[in-house]
Amino acid sequence: MFNLVEKRRWFFLISAIVIFPGLFAMVYSTVTTGAPFRMSIDFVGGSIYDLSFAEKGITEGDIRDAFAEFDDRSLTVQRLTLDDGTERWSVRGSYLEQDQTDQILDKLNAISPLNRDRTQIEQVSETIGAEVAQAAFLAVLAASFIVSFFIIIAFRTVPNALRYGLSAIAAMLHDVLVVMGVASIMGLFFGWEVDALFLTAVLTVLAYSVQDSIVLFDRIRENIPQYLGEPYETIVNRSIWETIHRSLATQLNAFFIMAAILLFGGETIKQFIAILFIGLLSGTYSSIFTAVPLLVAWEKGEIPLLSRVGKILPAPLAVEDRV
């Protein structure tokens, strides 16, 4: 049985290597653009036009001209891949009301006929954007608080319940930082935007991260009374190996489904799925390589300030509600 727990410093280092570039990207992005991510219109307001033309021939200049009269903010105009020979453009700009949007569409239609059946327009005012951003902030706070509380409740019968709770929360933060970092980096390099669905992905990752930690901690709590003579580290390591098949099989199944959506599904939710997948991967990693090593480090007094808070004793524990 390879001792995974022994290598914990390496795993902490790997986590740091993954998380720090993301943190750096978030700081850099905040300094340069005022926000840690590229915010989508969901949070800041604005318009996205996915325009489809029946014929080829319209140019970026034509499109900019059509918008010029109404949209003073800098427009982003991008030509999309031509999958079926039609001309598709994506335009981002400020929030406009119906009348102005209609005039723009009429102008475009006069230059090159629009294919309205394949055109999509999303518009969100700044007021609504600000409200969604505020609700998002509250949702993250509420979710973190409730889940932390749940973990502490779920582990209340284990000796040193607080350690388990805090380690699971640390793993949860680890995963959230990983996905936020990835979103920030992808925003800087590939223009990925953070929208309401991104927040959904983050909270789902949070839930599944806890799920992984709970399964692993459950096993540790069950093994403690069964291997009374063994050092804590060995018991923990045994527990990881006993649950690793489950972790891998579950991760593999999640991968199958998400890969299918990424490869064969619609365009609009691909970023959502990619973020979700990275988060679930990180969730499995962090429960094994962050939460559990933290438990052991704490037990061995390796964490400054926390080392004096009593020792974990392999106290005999009734295996009551688990059997």
Binding site: L197, Q211, A249, L263, I269, D321
Partner: protein, 461 residues
């Protein structure tokens, strides 16, 4: 053993019911044969899948200057207009204390639909008689005493751009408003080739109007819609309850004006705060792509489970099919509006459903490796894995509840679809991962007792 057969019967009945509900043609059930459906099932598809228009309208008034009843009345009028446009699948709901969300599946002409819905449609008949220097005011915006009162009630000042009486500088006098109409319809005059609105006044208004027009024959009167003069005809003779309104209407304009007059003026002016307009073809493509992706993903998962866990894998695969059917049926029974995020929520919940089975099977394998006989290994596997399955599902359900509330924010509504299907999946999974899988697995184990105890590889161990 008998209890497993009982469960099998329950499961088979449940499956039959779910298959029936999920059939595309099923619309409901009429228990007592009174011709009305007592159980209604319907598949609701979101705008991102069928195409259509969604608009979030916000009251264009300061908070406190109108009541929630005013907003509800505005929503009712919007609803009448939407129904008048023939959009039966549309939904109109009040959101919070100052917004109305309108969803119009299948609408392709957003401009016409939204213009019809959000127009205040305050129609007024205004006295122009004896006012010197009025001239031709067609298409200009004027201030009437009716509007002046409305503005004052809200604590606002009338814009200086609105024309007032040239002789006194006071607002023009309103004689009647659209609220006094009994009916309104768009009609076509073949002689002039123009559309006009035929209106009928209610009885008390007809008396007022009759005495007014009787005393002002030869004088002008203005017909004003939302402050804009439609026309200012000269009164030719005393008018009764039925007359026509002429203007430069196209057929569409005449139709929507008649509809607005029938449904009444909005008590609150509305402004667009967010809108989404999805082409119908794009929606159809999304449906096709999602179905294909979902099927491929699920088939790979089923194959993996059978290959990796063998006989238990077969039980899990069967349980997963039951799981999917129960979800599909739930979507139509509740009903859940399916959107792309909602479909994703379902697919993610499949991952969790399988995880429940994996937890159990890994436990069973461990117990068999530890030398326990098959029956005991199965019992221990299910009972020991239950705690983990329950706790881990609960944490995800909690998060989904938070997500659901976040999705109630106007502008984040895509999120609630994901949360609802994921919660449903998790709850249904607590039943299928344990009861359904256990029934199938015990029955398979009973039928294949000999080979299973001799050939451990059949259990994936």
């Amino acid at each position: 053993m008998a209890s497993h057969y009982r469960w099998l019967a329950v499961i088979l009945l449940l499956v039959a019911f779910c298959v029936w509900v999920s059939l595309p043609d099923t619309t409901g059930l009429d228990w007592n044969n009174d011709g009305e459906l007592d159980l209604v099932v319907e598949q609701k598809l979101g705008l991102d899948l069928v195409g259509g228009v969604r608009v979030l309208l916000e009251a264009q008034l300061p908070p406190g200057s109108f009541t929630i009843e005013d907003l509800q009345r505005a929503a009712d009028n919007v609803n009448k207009r939407v129904n008048g446009l023939g959009l039966t699948e549309a939904t109109v709901q009040v959101q919070g204390d100052r917004r109305i969300l309108v969803e119009l599946p299948g609408v392709t002409n957003k401009k016409q639909a939204v213009d019809t819905i959000k127009a205040t449609a305050l129609l007024e008949f205004v006295d122009f008689a004896g006012i010197p220097g009025v001239g031709n005011l067609d298409d200009t915006r004027i201030l009437t005493n009716q509007q002046d009162q409305l503005l004052k009630a809200r604590g606002e000042q009338a814009s200086a751009d609105l024309r007032r009486r040239p002789d006194t500088g006071q607002p023009f006098t309103t004689i009647l408003t659209g609220a006094d109409l009994q009916s309104a319809s768009a009609q076509y005059d073949a002689k002039t080739g123009r559309f006009f609105i035929a209106v009928k006044l209610n009885d008390s208004a007809a008396a007022t109007f009759s005495s007014f027009t009787g005393s002002r024959v030869g004088q002008p009167m203005a017909i004003v819609l939302d402050s804009t003069v439609l026309s200012a005809p000269v009164i030719q003779s005393q008018l009764g309850s039925d007359f026509v309104i002429q203007g430069n209407f196209t057929q569409d304009e005449a139709n929507s004006l008649a509809l607005q007059l029938r449904s009444g003026a909005l008590p609150i002016p509305l402004r667009e705060e967010a809108a989404s307009d999805v082409g119908a073809t794009l929606g159809q493509e999304s449906v096709n792509l999602s179905i294909r992706a979902g099927i491929i993903g699920v088939v790979v998962v089923l194959a993996f489970m059978v290959l990796y866990y063998r006989v238990p894998g077969i039980a899990a695969a069967l349980a997963l099919i039951v799981f999917a059917l129960m979800n599909f049926a739930a979507y139509k029974l509740i009903p859940v509006t399916l959107t792309l995020p909602a479909i994703t929520g379902f697919l993610i919940s499949i991952g969790t459903a399988v995880d429940g089975n994996i937890l159990i099977f890994e436990r069973v394998k461990e117990e068999i490796r530890a030398g326990k006989p098959l029956g005991m290994a199965l019992d221990l596997g299910f009972s020991r894995a239950w705690g983990s399955i329950r706790d881990s599902n609960i944490s995800t359900i909690i998060i989904c509840v938070v997500l659901f509330f976040f999705g109630q924010t106007p502008g984040a509504s895509v999120v609630s679809g994901f949360a609802i299907t994921l919660i449903l999946g998790l709850v249904i999974n607590l039943f299928t991962a344990v009861i359904v899988t256990r029934t199938f697995l015990y029955l398979l184990a009973a039928w294949l007792q000999k080979p299973l105890s001799e050939k451990k590889w059949l259990l994936g161990a």
